[in-house]
Symmetry: C2
Subunit: 317 residues, 2 copies
């Protein structure tokens, strides 16, 4: 029962960990991503893995890697990751070569959902909708105790369901996606607009006087300090997030909606009332009554824990 | 390997069949529903079953029954069926007593989806979104080769996902549901409005000169005859149906969307272009590229075939 090295690679950070085969996190290291070139990323990962192994003295079975998709988990190829700017990159092979260890990889939102289901507070729950609110909005599904991949590994993309016909343009090219109106990016965009218009002096102050510097974190902090403009922005975003979640709840009838991601976790208490209001208003009653919305219990570690499970599934002893 | 008696009970009809344990339809009988009282329905079913058994001379193992939900398949209780006007009716027990045979029942949309997946043209497809367009809009999901029930047996209700915030009132009490803008009921309502306003003389003629008599079938026939008003109604409904399907496709990444139901099958060719346009416009590209939209291959028999599977699962030999 040797340990597994797990990586959670995002558009701007790399988190590494040593996990027991039971999914316990034994050690972690976090670094900013120094380059987005696939070979550079693999070499940075190899150095991070070496440092973790030196620190802990373990001889790992291999690497489980959570990474933004869409990807083909069978071939370990990143098909098209807007977050990393990659297209058709056989990253499992590149990473395996750089680290001289077997690699299994999967989508980061799916890994986080699996982590929660395998070792989080909602352990072994049958039906989970996982929503990751970060710069963008991702998601993943666990239904009847199994991760759902869909026909081509793209299931779970709640961030690209349309909540507002002819709404603002999304990073995916479509209009009115949930991601375009309720992501960290959308919060920041609305915050900058509000600061520029002179309607949000608190926001401007928090961002050091520059409207261009307003980020999602400033909007969250301003709302907590009582800024009506920031509160309005979060109410709108929460209502849209709630509509997207309500439709998924009506379609899937999950027991749990788990919210993760940096923005989702930081703003959970602020947007929860708007989400719950939207759920009562827009979801079919029997499905709305059966669901509870909670924050991710594993926080930043969820992706690592899920990546561990992914490795163990791909390389059973 | 004795035969199974299967029933598909709707708000206005009762279809019965004798099926082989391999899901082949050996005989069928169809009747209008003579009453909606649960005991009357069970007695009508018992008479229909007797007639089918007399006709075929088989000694069946039991009864599989497709019926409008929401229901609790474990206890065989119809929790709340707006179509039948039932609340908390232990129909499996009532039907079993009336017919003196073991009964297994499940939601009619789920039975139809299972029928297609078990014995239809898309046999053993891994991921199917089934959409039933009749008077209302129902649906069901098969993901990774398994019917999806959700936490409380309510999964699949695509008809009650919201496609138009503050849209028209739906039978479920909410606003802007897909069912409120794209069901047979919604087509008829729009047709009547159009006929009353004098904008659709063709529709009025087809309905015998009475705007109040316009039904979904008249709208479909008028559209085929070139009525611009009827074509406009179907284009709007198709665009909304397409948006609802696009969001489900983005979330679930199915290989097949199968359209069933009386209105869905009769109007399939007319609304398909609108659905496909909406899919290109609103669904995430990798999921849209992976999916094909087809009509149900088993038509009216899909529910019977699925009810046969349901019985065999509940009562394995």
């Amino acid at each position: 029962m040797a340990e597994i090295v797990c990586l959670d690679i995002g558009g701007s950070k790399m988190l590494g960990g040593i996990l027991s085969a039971a999914g316990a996190v034994l050690a972690t290291r976090r670094e900013p991503l120094s380059s987005r070139d696939p070979r550079d990323v693999a070499h940075q990962a190899a150095a991070l893995v070496r440092a973790l192994l030196d620190q802990t003295g373990v001889s790992p079975r291999g690497i489980g890697c959570a990474i933004p998709g869409p990807l083909d988990r069978r071939t370990g190829t990143i098909v098209h990751s807007p977050n990393l700017g990659w297209r058709n990159i056989p990253f499992a092979a590149i990473l395996s070569q750089a680290c001289r260890l077997p690699v299994a990889l999967d989508d980061d939102a799916r890994c986080a959902a699996i982590g929660e289901w395998w070792r989080g507070k909602r352990q072994h729950a049958e039906c989970i909708l996982f929503v990751v609110v970060g710069t963008g909005i991702g998601g993943a599904l666990i239904l009847h105790g199994r991760p759902i991949y869909g026909a081509t590994d793209n299931a779970g993309e709640i961030g690209h369901t349309v909540v507002l016909i002819d709404g603002p343009r999304c990073s995916c090219g479509k209009r009115g996606c949930l991601e375009a109106v309720a992501s960290g990016w959308a919060l920041a965009e609305a915050g900058r607009k509000s600061a520029r218009s002179g309607n949000a002096p608190e926001l401007l102050t928090l961002a050091g006087g520059s409207a261009d510097a307003v980020g999602a974190d400033h909007v969250l902090r301003a709302a907590r300090c009582g800024s009506p403009a920031a509160q309005g922005i979060l109410e709108n975003a929460g209502a849209m997030l709630g509509l997207g979640i309500a439709n998924a709840v009506t379609l899937l009838n999950p027991q749990w909606v788990i919210i993760g991601g940096g923005v989702g976790l930081a703003g959970f208490d602020v947007v929860l009332p708007s989400i719950q209001r939207a759920l009562r208003c827009h979801a079919l009653a029997p499905a709305a009554q059966a669901v509870t919305i909670v924050p991710s219990s594993l926080g930043e570690h969820a992706g690592l824990v899920g990546a561990c499970w992914i490795f163990l599934q791909a390389h059973p002893e």
